[in-house]
């Protein structure tokens, strides 16, 4: 067995333990340990990225790479079968990009946190815990394990915003907490429902005596179990229920007559129960994405959070939402995904336009960037809703590229805030004169974000829009006008970025008189170069050589998309037919 994934997850935790043992006043050592921990994690992530075989497609139980599976909690439920939670991690084309992103942003975040002075030990402890849980989220293949990391992520983030944040930090922290928590509780409900409906075919085969305990996966035995299950030939006591996501992805593993089986025929509020489950899960992840209308926690959280926390929040935490949609929601409920594509796509487009319009109206540079995040994450929803190969690839690419670019955006906002203790756009003019290097990075970040060709943002937006335009013919999902509206989002984003650029950086140098006393406007220092330059390089690199990433992700994403589409259309008919009966 290969332990690279576990080491990825637990390296930050190990560093956190070391930090915990260090005395409070050894601040340098604490920072060094954190940096070392994140560096190791990044190196591991890069190693994993290069060793990952992008040509394999994960379907069902097989195909995930570097899989680790250990029994964690399991006990008998008597006549109700067995309760089982596994420590089950693995990586495929969808998660590999996210892991790489986490590794990189983790290090950048530490560099950006170097100037933290308040309660250094607590800060870096929470920072490392946050990294552990995010990495765990991206690697977990057991729904329960995923949920555990997903929910645990809240706590460090809550304290990071609440303790190191701006003046309204309590409000922002609790708002963030409650929004995300309500979302994750929706997820919990569906998770429990899924758990009662799905069996692990391999473990059930062991239970039935078809293969010996500890036996390797035998495709025939699994098929046999699945057939027996669908013919009601497996007694309830022999069913080994599971939280395994790959098992949940196969319709054949659903217990006939169970709540979430396609033919259950259960209705709630005039919708099949599977659709309700989809909507609950979607709501849970959409809060995290965030999608309009549940995005309102994001600007507050960003405005109050310190720069490095904003970076983590925008670059990694938001991706968990999109990742959850791609990894969990669509493959498990493809039927509802097909049925609700207009809703998802519509919310995506609404986010794009509404986020962009809001960004246009903002005077606070950080709020502008926060709303641009809302707008860009809308593309993820749109690409996903199209269910075309291009669209979903674009969605994944968008998550990666937005991770890089939004980190950069928040960092440049942090730079000016560090100097002037203010970031209102109207308080600055002609900064290019005094901060030429800084202005260069700002221009790179802004242009990358608005989708200039040559930057990674362009590739992802292009793919998503291609997917959206081809969807009506290819998959019959989205009406074309929706994508047309999304294109206007691009125009708007060009507008707010260029306008901000023009107002703040061009013209004669001037800053608001009241700020002058406190502000020391100097150009970038070495530390700031160190965190901005790699991101700029990456944004360019993945913009010029998109195959660098697409080679690794496209096979898995394409496979997943086609499977979802195919299963979705088949199951949709079944679900609707079971209702008519």
């Amino acid at each position: 067995m290969n332990f690279i994934l576990s080491s990825l997850i637990f390296t930050p935790l190990l560093a956190a333990l070391v930090v915990l043992l260090l005395p409070v006043r050894r601040q340098k050592a604490i920072k060094a340990v954190t940096l070392l921990g994140t560096l190791v994690q990044m190196v591991l992530a890069i190693l994993l990225y290069f060793r990952f075989d992008g040509s394999a497609f994960a379907n069902g139980q097989q195909g995930y790479q570097f899989v680790e599976k250990l029994h964690w909690i399991g006990f008998s439920l008597g006549t109700l079968g067995r309760f089982q939670i596994d420590y089950f991690v693995g990586v495929d084309g969808i998660s590999i990009s996210m892991v790489l992103l986490t590794g990189i942003i983790g290090v950048i975040g530490v560099i950006s946190s170097w100037t933290i002075t308040k309660n250094v030990k607590g800060y870096f402890l929470l920072y490392l815990l946050l990294l552990t849980s995010v990495t765990g989220c991206f690697l977990a293949l057991d729904f329960f394990l995923f949920y555990l990391f997903f929910e645990f992520m809240l706590l460090p983030m809550y304290f990071l915003i609440g303790l190191w944040g701006g003046p309204k930090r309590e409000y922002a922290a609790i708002k963030f907490f409650i929004y995300t928590l309500v979302g994750s509780l929706f997820i919990l409900i569906v998770m429990i429902g899924l758990y009662t409906s799905v069996i692990d075919p391999q473990a059930t085969a062991v239970q039935l005596g078809l293969i010996g305990a500890g036996g390797t996966a035998a495709p025939n035995a699994i098929l046999q179990v699945q057939q027996m299950l669908q013919q009601n030939m497996v007694s309830s006591a022999d069913m080994v229920r599971t939280f395994s996501i790959p098992a949940m992805m196969e319709p054949a593993n659903f217990i006939p007559g169970s709540l979430l089986h396609v033919l259950s025929g259960v209705e709630l509020w005039y919708l099949p129960i599977r659709f309700i489950a989809f909507l609950l899960l979607f709501a849970g992840f959409a809060i995290k994405v965030p999608s309009v209308p549940v995005h309102t926690w994001l600007p507050d959280a960003h405005v109050e959070a310190p720069t490095p926390v904003s970076v983590l929040l925008a670059a990694i935490l938001l991706k968990v939402g999109g990742y959850g949609l791609i990894r969990i929601v669509y493959p498990i409920f493809p039927d509802a995904g097909a049925y609700f594509s207009i809703l998802v796509g519509g919310l995506g487009v609404l986010s794009i336009i509404y986020g962009a319009l809001n960004a246009l109206a903002m005077n606070d540079l950080k709020k502008l960037v926060a709303y641009s995040s809302v707008s860009h994450m809308g593309f993820v929803l749109l690409g996903l809703a199209s269910l075309t190969t291009e669209g979903v690839n674009g969605a994944v690419y968008m998550m990666f590229s937005h991770g890089i670019i939004s980190a950069m955006l928040f960092l440049v906002v942090g730079v000016i805030y560090d100097r002037a203790h203010d970031r209102a756009i109207q308080n600055f003019r002609g900064l290019a004169k005094v901060m030429p290097a800084y202005t260069t990075f700002v221009i790179i970040a802004f242009f990358a974000s608005l989708g200039l060709p040559g930057f990674s943002g362009f590739i992802s937006e292009l793919l998503v829009l291609l997917g959206g335009f081809s969807a009506p013919e290819a998959t019959g999902m989205l009406p074309r006008w929706l994508t047309v509206v999304a294109v206007f989002g691009l125009l708007l984003s060009a507008a707010y970025y260029l306008w901000a650029l023009q107002r703040m950086f061009f013209g004669k140098y001037w800053i608001f008189p009241e700020l002058r006393a406190k502000a020391t406007i100097t150009d970038l220092n070495f530390r700031e170069y160190l965190m901005l330059a790699p991101l700029a390089v990456l944004a360019l690199l993945f913009g010029i050589l998109p195959n660098l990433l697409l080679d690794k992700i496209s096979v898995a994403v394409t496979g997943m998309t086609q499977l979802t589409l195919q299963n979705g259309q088949e199951q949709l008919e079944l679900v609707l037919s079971s209702l008519i009966r």
Binding site: I73, G74, F75, L77, G78, T79, L80, F83, Y147, L148, E151, F152, L154, L155, Y158, F159, G162, L163, R169, E170, A173, I174, F177, I178, L181, V182, L185, F186, L188, I189, I192, G193, Y195, T196, S258, L259, V266
Partner: protein, 461 residues
């Protein structure tokens, strides 16, 4: 049975020790007694035996719940240290009453006969009436005792009338006989039986402070000295729920259809009233009272589910709830003492700076109560919810419970906010004994351990 006998003897010994000049020996002695009882109790594991003409049965169910209740008492007593420092003249009596009331609690989880249920409840309650009023110079404590006593006696009457009606309908006080009679009569013998069942449900609902019979709880919890509130909201509640489940499982399983609608209404009402009631409180202790009402709701959910997982879920939930509640009340004791009896959220301001240990233990406890992963409370809720969704028609109940859990986070985290994000009003460090700190650390570690490896306890039943 050994635990009942030992506790009675130890209680009497404690009273005699009270004659001695030094009160300092009482706490270590009581802890030792409880540890002995805890150990002796374990010997009955897997060795089910009946006593008193089958009126009591010490089976694994009884042993497990006895273990939890004794453990809870053992864990909450070390925080009574300041009672000793105040040189309270009735200290020995308080410790003895706690031990005696544990006897009642044990009878409540091991009864096979309604008589034993009644006596168990009374032994537990009468001791609690006294303890509620133990701070006799404070009017709040008087008032709590009087309310608790009058309401307790009243609902005991209701419970008894229920028992008599059941007796009239089935001719027996034995749970097995009642179950047999009910089974041959299709679960509903006659109107007398149904009415008796309803009164029984009401009587026990009062004891576990389930809405709408919870109205006494906030007042009594607030007025009672914090140490005994802690006992009341852990041991008394656990005993009540365990007795409730045992009653339903052993005597009224066949009458499921008769009590199910009532119980589900009580459960939903308890969840909603408990959580919403807790939101509006500004007093931390009163909030904990409402929170204990809401946790009665989660415990009742496992009872509503009524399947193979119910008892194990109740067991695990009880333990996780007890651990967290003990910490919450313990920290409250220290804080309110330092702040001249202030029990509001504001009393906790800045605790994270002055007393990191207290604040951390409290944070873990609040996480556990609100069901955040990697704490025992999360698995407690998960087990209860999984027990409930085995019946797909009860999915809506889980949805309600989950929403209420989200409400719970809001008020539990108010204190966390106060501790870490508010400036300290009183920068003085609170002094804690080393043994008490050790216990706090122990409980916190135990809570986290159960959040990582719940199988330690969840497999017991």
């Amino acid at each position: 049975m050994t635990s009942i006998i030992l506790l009675s003897i130890f209680g009497i010994i404690n009273l005699f020790v009270g004659f001695m000049k030094s009160k300092r020996i009482l706490l270590p002695l009581s802890l030792l007694f409880l540890a002995v009882v805890f150990g002796a109790n374990l010997f009955s594991w897997n060795e089910a035996q009946s006593y008193f003409n089958h009126m009591l049965t010490i089976d694994n169910y009884a042993v497990a719940f006895t273990g939890i209740m004794v453990l809870a008492t053992l864990l909450l007593l070390p925080f009574s240290q300041h009672y000793i420092e105040e040189a309270n003249e009735n200290l020995a009596e308080f410790y003895s009453l706690l031990l005696f009331s544990l006897v009642g609690a044990i009878m409540m989880v091991s009864y096979e006969n309604m008589l034993m249920l009644f006596i168990g409840i009374e032994i537990l309650s009468i001791a609690m009436y006294v303890l509620a009023g133990s701070d006799k110079r404070r009017l709040r404590s008087n008032e709590a005792a009087l309310k608790y006593f009058l309401m307790g006696a009243f609902f005991t009457g209701v419970l008894l009338f229920g028992i008599v009606l059941i007796y009239g309908a089935t001719g027996s006080f034995y749970l097995t006989d009642i179950a047999a009679t009910a089974a041959v009569n299709d679960g509903t013998v006659n109107a007398m039986f149904t009415l008796g069942l309803l009164l029984l449900v009401i009587g026990i609902s009062f004891k576990i402070s389930a809405a709408p019979f919870h109205f006494w709880a906030p007042d009594v919890y607030e007025g009672t000295p914090t140490l005994f509130t802690s006992y009341m909201s852990t041991v008394v509640k656990i005993a009540g729920v365990a007795a409730f489940y045992k009653l339903m499982a052993a005597a009224f399983a066949a009458s499921y259809a008769a009590w199910f609608p009532t119980l589900i209404a009580i459960t939903v009402l308890t969840l909603v009233v408990g959580n919403i009631g807790a939101v509006v409180q500004t007093n931390f202790k009163r909030m904990l009272a409402y929170s204990s009402v809401s946790h009665a709701g989660y415990l009742l959910m496992a009872l509503v589910a009524f399947n193979e997982r119910s008892d194990a879920s109740i067991l695990f939930y009880s333990l996780s709830y007890a651990l967290a509640t003990i910490v919450a009340f313990a920290v409250l004791q220290y804080v309110s003492e330092q702040r001249n009896g202030d029990e509001t959220y504001a009393a906790f301001n800045g605790l994270g700076k002055t007393n990191p240990l207290l604040a951390f233990a409290m944070t873990v406890a609040m996480c556990s109560l609100s069901g955040i992963p990697l704490t025992a409370g999360f698995f407690g809720k998960l087990f209860v919810f999984t027990a409930v969704v085995q019946d797909a028609r009860l999915m809506w109940l889980v949805v309600v419970a989950v929403l209420m859990a989200a409400v719970g986070i809001y008020y539990y985290f108010k204190v966390v906010i106060a501790m870490y994000m508010q400036p300290a009003a009183d920068a003085a460090k609170i002094r804690i004994g080393s043994f008490a700190s050790f216990m706090l650390i122990f409980i916190t570690v135990f809570t986290i351990l159960l959040g990582i490896a719940p199988a330690l306890v969840s497999d017991l039943l």
